[in-house]
């Protein structure tokens, strides 16, 4: 069968991927720069295509709690928003993590804090990778750097979320959401039948038959010792995720003397900078974390033995740089370069930053 290629916005690709991956539901609330997700879904009438439920909720808070309700039934449910909306969802995300439910959340990040701007940013790194809501929990965080990855990470994200019964976040930004690129569209997957769902998710609250005990979905335990045991169980799960699910891309690292560490759209900007640096004879490579949690610490730790320094490029005042420093453990200098508030760093600025902060530093 010939591949189906389309030119799509990142936001549209996420929406199409949700339908194609056999998702059961999308609940969301419009916010720039990701409103195309729900607009596309509504235009596609997925209830006719696959029976998928799509609903515009009254708020981000309601939307994430609809996700909770759907996920607690074992359903494949997804929501998306942008930074201020993701902040509103944090309570629900914490509950979903606490109740060990699978779901997919896409954050098309814009500049903050507060209402901030609607332009692209990567300033939600801490929020996404260190918890975000209350309590000790982690999300699996996937950082797409292309529209194709926006598409592909939906199915990967759902798979991971069900494998570990943990919410998964796709951390995009205004650039990835708004740009159009070539996307290879996969086949339509069938939505699971109720029998398949019950087999996959015996814990789902779908009505208690006489043949089993009741299923309860909760994040509450008033007995401190039991809650502690549960927290430690979560830690074990996160350790397993760290061991098995790290993803990253190495670009021209084999002969590199300098490494740019960048994810998402910053990685794309950095690729241009890398070309400019190499044209000047500065052997530069890129480590592109694809999973931000789990973070690809080991590859950075190992690279530190044979390169001269690292520059992180983020559209933030410096968030991922802390994880890079932890990974490198002071073996080599690690500096940060970023533009913020919706300003996008130019490849030339990145070149200057590497030359001044690392080579000249």
């Amino acid at each position: 069968m010939e591949k189906e290629l389309r030119l799509m916005k990142g936001n549209e690709a996420v929406a199409e991927a949700a339908i194609r991956s056999g998702a059961d539901a999308y609940f969301g609330y419009p916010i720039t720069p990701q409103s195309e997700v729900i607009e596309y879904l509504m235009a596609q009438e997925p209830h006719k295509r696959t029976g998928m439920v799509v609903l515009q909720a009254e708020s981000e808070v309601a939307a994430i709690n609809m996700i909770y309700g759907a996920a607690a039934c074992g359903k494949m449910a997804m929501t998306s928003s942008s930074s201020p909306g993701i902040s509103l969802k944090q309570e629900g995300i914490s509950y979903i993590a606490g109740a060990e439910l699978p779901c997919l959340i896409m954050n098309c990040v814009r500049g903050g804090p507060g209402l901030g701007t609607i332009q692209p940013a990567q300033s939600d790194y801490f929020q996404s990778t260190k918890g975000g809501g209350h309590g000790d929990y982690r999300l699996v965080v996937l950082a797409p750097a292309s529209v194709q990855e926006m598409y592909d990470f939906v199915e990967i994200g759902f798979d991971l979320s069900f494998k570990y019964r943990n919410p998964v976040m796709i951390l995009a930004d205004g650039i990835i959401g708004q740009m159009m690129e070539k996307v290879e569209i996969g086949p339509q997957k069938e939505r699971r039948t109720m029998e398949q769902l019950i087999k996959q998710c015996p814990w789902a609250t779908v009505g208690k038959p006489a043949t089993r005990e009741r299923n309860i979905i909760t994040s509450l335990d008033l007995v401190a010792s039991r809650q502690e045991a549960f927290n430690l169980k979560l830690v074990k799960k996160y350790e397993e995720i760290k061991e098995k699910e790290v993803r990253f891309e190495l670009i021209n690292c084999d002969d590199a003397e300098y490494i740019i560490v960048a994810y998402g759209s910053s990685a794309r900007l950095s690729m241009k900078a890398m070309d400019l640096l190499r044209a000047k004879g500065i052997k530069t490579g890129i480590v592109r974390p694809i999973t931000l949690f789990p973070f690809p610490s080991k590859v950075l730790f190992d690279l530190a033995d044979r390169v001269k320094g690292f520059l992180t490029v983020e559209m933030s005042t410096g968030q991922m740089v802390e994880d890079v420093r932890l990974a490198v453990q002071f073996k080599k200098p690690v500096e940060h370069y970023g533009r913020v508030g919706g300003v996008i760093p130019s490849p030339e600025e990145i070149v200057n930053a590497l030359e001044q902060k690392i080579i000249g530093g």
Binding site: L7, Q119, R268, D275
Partner: protein, 180 residues
């Protein structure tokens, strides 16, 4: 081959759809493409621009500060983007409403009076296709057959009967373009 293009004008000129058709044409030709619009407050009534990249290789940054070609459709955009054309690059503009014409000597400048022509022909809706035609005349990076395929992909099926009109507009644009 990598061609990095900025198309800039004001809202309602069809800047974004012109970029989309160009990108889709590249896609139909088997190339890598990216289309990155300006979005946000400026798209509501103000300026509108889109960066289109067509390449034989994996595209790095979809956002650029230097372009091989700038397609300029109003004064504001000319003021902003003229200096961002790479030395030896190309600038194509519509002189309609332009009071300060491009001045650079190290780039090749073309103009097409597409607004005027489109008004004369009563074909304001396909103004942007005339400009696209002019660009393709200067830089035939995509074959006409792929442009038609791109058009079919970007225009909703209910409007496919308008494709011949778009095709004619492209041809007019090809004829009307002149080197400055």
């Amino acid at each position: 081959m990598t061609e990095e293009i900025i198309i800039a004008g004001f809202g309602g000129q069809g800047v974004l759809s012109m970029g989309k058709i160009l990108a889709y044409s590249g896609l139909m030709q088997g190339q890598e493409v990216s289309w990155m619009p300006s979005y946000g407050p400026e798209m509501r009534g103000g300026t509108s621009n889109v960066t289109v990249i067509i390449s034989d290789e994996r595209i790095s940054s979809p956002i650029l500060t230097k372009y091989d070609t700038a397609i300029i459709l109003n004064q504001q955009s000319l003021d902003k983007f003229e200096c961002m054309v790479k030395p030896g690059g190309t600038l194509l503009y519509d002189p309609n409403g332009i009071t300060r014409h491009p001045e650079r000597k190290d780039i090749t400048i073309y103009k097409v009076a597409a607004t005027q022509k489109a008004t004369e022909l009563g074909a304001v809706k396909v103004f942007n296709m005339m400009v696209l035609g002019s660009y393709l005349k200067i830089k035939p990076i995509v074959k006409m057959e792929n442009v038609i395929k791109g058009l079919k992909k970007s225009i909703p099926a209910r409007n496919h009967h308008l494709i011949p009109m778009n095709e004619q507009a492209i041809e007019i644009g090809m004829k009307e373009v002149e080197k400055v």
